[in-house]
């Protein structure tokens, strides 16, 4: 049973220039036309359709040139309002995250808390936030408070549900191993349950980061007397029939949401490099 003469070794190392070329090719994959062309073509088609529509129906859509003008004429205006909205969105998200995460831990550890809290959380979730927002404005005024609360509320439920499920998703055999060495509840939570829940938490964050912008804008729109925020800009500009500014603000919001999603996705790939979601790409 000797090894035959022609058997190659198990791993082959090609010449360095071949390896380098392969590495370069993978890194530059996004730059290849096959990668970005479909999206670019769709973008151009949509732009052309838009211009065509704006030509025929000027009250429906502003020409793209005017939208661009609106931004370049006063970029400081958009920057300021975008910053206010972004700040409200992120602060509200942070608030909602902390509350939902802490509650998820309590819910998964204490059945009493679960039975008390979950029905309330479900009712809160099915109640339209657009309906609650004006009430909060009446209660808290035109400052940032109602915006933070609405954003926190809109982010709360997905984080609570996902985290609670994640914390309970530890495989039975893993639990058996750590119970057999009498790990305390706190140790189990810290070393096993919370890391197990991380993929679920990130799935929630992917939903909730863009949603936080929705929450902030809805609250801004409900507070008719607010001084700033893109939601306010949209309301003011639309009451003056200034479609170009309305659409410019909408585009800034879309950009903001996409950037937030990108940030979460990059963060997720870093943190969850050990998870299937990062490997099966």
């Amino acid at each position: 049973m000797s090894q035959s003469v022609g058997t190659p070794p198990a791993t082959l190392t090609p010449p360095p220039e071949v390896v380098a070329a392969r590495r370069r090719r993978r890194r530059l994959a996004v730059l290849r036309p096959a990668y970005w062309m479909p999206f670019a073509v769709l973008l151009v088609v949509l732009g052309l359709l838009w211009q065509l529509g704006a030509d025929k129906l000027p009250y429906l859509l502003p020409p793209l040139g005017e939208v661009a003008d609106a931004v370049t004429r006063d970029p400081g205006y958009f920057l300021h309002h975008a910053w206010v909205t972004l700040r409200n969105a992120l602060l509200g998200l942070a608030l909602g995250f902390v509350a939902a995460f802490v509650l998820a831990v309590l819910v998964s550890e204490l059945p009493v808390v679960r039975r008390a809290v979950m029905p309330v959380a479900v009712v809160l979730n099915v109640t339209p936030l657009v309906a609650i927002a004006p009430a909060l404005v009446v209660a808290f005024g035109f400052g940032p408070e109602p915006k933070l609360i609405v954003t926190a509320l809109i982010c709360f439920f997905p984080i609570l549900i996902n985290t609670a499920i994640g914390l309970r998703s530890v495989p039975r055999e893993v639990l058996a191993v750590y119970r057999s060495v009498h790990a305390s509840r706190g140790e189990l939570l810290r070393h096993v349950r919370i890391p197990t829940a991380l993929p679920y938490v990130f799935a929630a964050l992917q939903i909730v980061f863009p949603l936080s912008v929705v929450g902030a804008v809805v609250a801004e729109m409900s507070a008719a007397g607010s001084a700033d925020g893109l939601g306010t800009s949209i309301q003011v500009a639309s009451s003056m029939n200034n479609l170009a500014v309305v659409w410019a603000a909408i585009l800034v919001l879309a950009l903001m949401g996409s950037t937030l999603l990108l940030v979460v996705t990059v963060l997720q790939r870093r943190v969850l490099h050990w998870h299937e979601s990062a490997r099966n790409r």
Partner: protein
Amino acid sequence: MPAPAIRVDAVRRHYVLEDFTELVALHDVDLTVPAGRFVSVIGPSGCGKSTLLRIMAGLEEPDAGTVTLGGVSPTEAAADKRIGLVPQAPALLPWLSVLDNVRLPRRVNRGANKADLPDPVALLERAGLGDALHQLPHQLSGGMQQRAAIVRAFALHPEVLLMDEPFSALDELTRESLQEQLLDLWSQLTATVVFVTHSVSEAVRLSDQVVVMAPKPGRVVETVDIDLPRPRTADLIRSPEFHDHEIVLRELLRWSYEQGAAR
């Protein structure tokens, strides 16, 4: 004669089913394992062998009867970190390296750690995982993952090692190499072992004693001593004595299998 490390006395375990009737998972099970012995529990599925192991590990309470490990209850033994558990799946944490997976059970419930814990790196090297110390579990083959799970248990230097079909998901050759590894670690860090399996040759190869269980209701039907010398070399495994033991056990297993099929 040393005091028994494990004593199972008239243990019963009933499960309440969907229709509120009861399934007798274990009926009056008695078992005594002297300290330092390697005992396998063998039987067809549904005979309660895994339930018995879970009760010994303190993961389940018996409905009647008592279990003691070194004179104390399984819960107390777990609190004292006298138990090493190797489940059917490796149960490694996917975000921790192999080494950190072996270390974590030692980091929890620290107060109960023994004074002379073995060096985890040396143990992993001895088990052939020296090159995989800093790899994540998903980078390892199934056999290497299960090896890490065995080292994780031995790294606690437990008095009692409870193993629940740890090799059942592995291919024949990997299985044999892991059996060797297990015996090697066991010879270095003596422990009383209860090893649940459904493989006759595995039971004969590893054990001093094999307990045969039958289902419906789950019970012990026979205890067979395996008086083959150690180390159990490749020559011994091919010997007629080894085969005789296998034949006896296979007959007993067939009988208990028919018990399950007949009812």
